[in-house]
Amino acid sequence: MLTIAGKTFRSRLFTGTGKFSSPEVMQEALLASGSEMVTVALRRVDLANPADDIMRVLDRDHFFFLPNTAGARNAAEAVRLAKLAQASGGGNWVKLEVTPDPRTLLPDPVETLIATEELVKAGFVVLPYMNADPILALRLQDAGAAAVMPLGSPIGTNQGVLTRFQVAIIIEQARVPVVVDAGIGAPSHAAEAMEMGADAVLVNTAIAVAGDPVRMAQAFAKAVEAGREAYEAGLGARRTEAEASSPQGGLDFLRE
């Protein structure tokens, strides 16, 4: 079981709620994923569509909410969004995202650290989205982050764990859970992160934009479980030279 800030999760697959074709498809896919934690964003109400409300399909008794600060370009904006999320009844957990550059959506490390310090002081459980920088992961952990969320590749790119080398160092050093977030584009990517020892993965785009989001959610659930089981079972070491699987002896009769 995964524990973050004293809360336990059976599923190590966290899911996002963006980009689905309809609230009903999202609801079915999230249920199929087995995920217990879902991310949500905050935006102005569209006054032309007052009934357009994601909450009507998300059962808060079933899903634990992790509001994000997506769209924030600096620490002050992120803190404002986190406080709005809390006032919306989103609880005191926050996925901290500070992404000043809309082209790359890469997180600003300095503003992320500043916002983490401020939000921890204000009593939030902070899960910062971060570049896969092992030094930054330690700094965020020391600042009181409840988990760290290094990116596999930029948000929405479906490129997989391009940061494998750095993520491995982060996992090795971390005292808080490591959730690989962003860029996980296929179940094999999720399994790879879990085999490396990540505590969980967060997937949104790959499920939401799949031809069949419900079946893709099931595929991710299996991959996350398989990857975790493989990690716990202990993978064999990688080698550079071949090592036969069949016995090398007992072949004299071929050569006599």
Binding site: T17, T39, R44, D53, A87
Partner: protein
């Protein structure tokens, strides 16, 4: 008649009304909306007792899908 700024748009109200009354007139469930009035977050119990006056700046925010 008063004018307020609601989600960036100027809006005329027949009379001064509470935040709760405004949400009802917009067809919004107050349980799913968070309100920022002149830059300060209102707690939900205050919706009924907070009057909107001329020039008030209001942000109505809610959860949407996101990753």
């Amino acid at each position: 008649m008063i004018t307020i700024l609601c989600n960036g748009e100027s809006r005329r109200l027949e009379r001064e009304m509470s935040v709760e009354e405004l949400l009802a007139s917009l067809g919004l469930n107050p349980e799913t909306v968070v309100v920022e009035l002149d830059g300060r977050i209102l707690s939900r119990p205050d919706y009924a007792v907070t009057k909107l006056t001329e020039g008030a700046t209001l942000e109505l925010i809610r959860f949407v899908g996101g990753g």
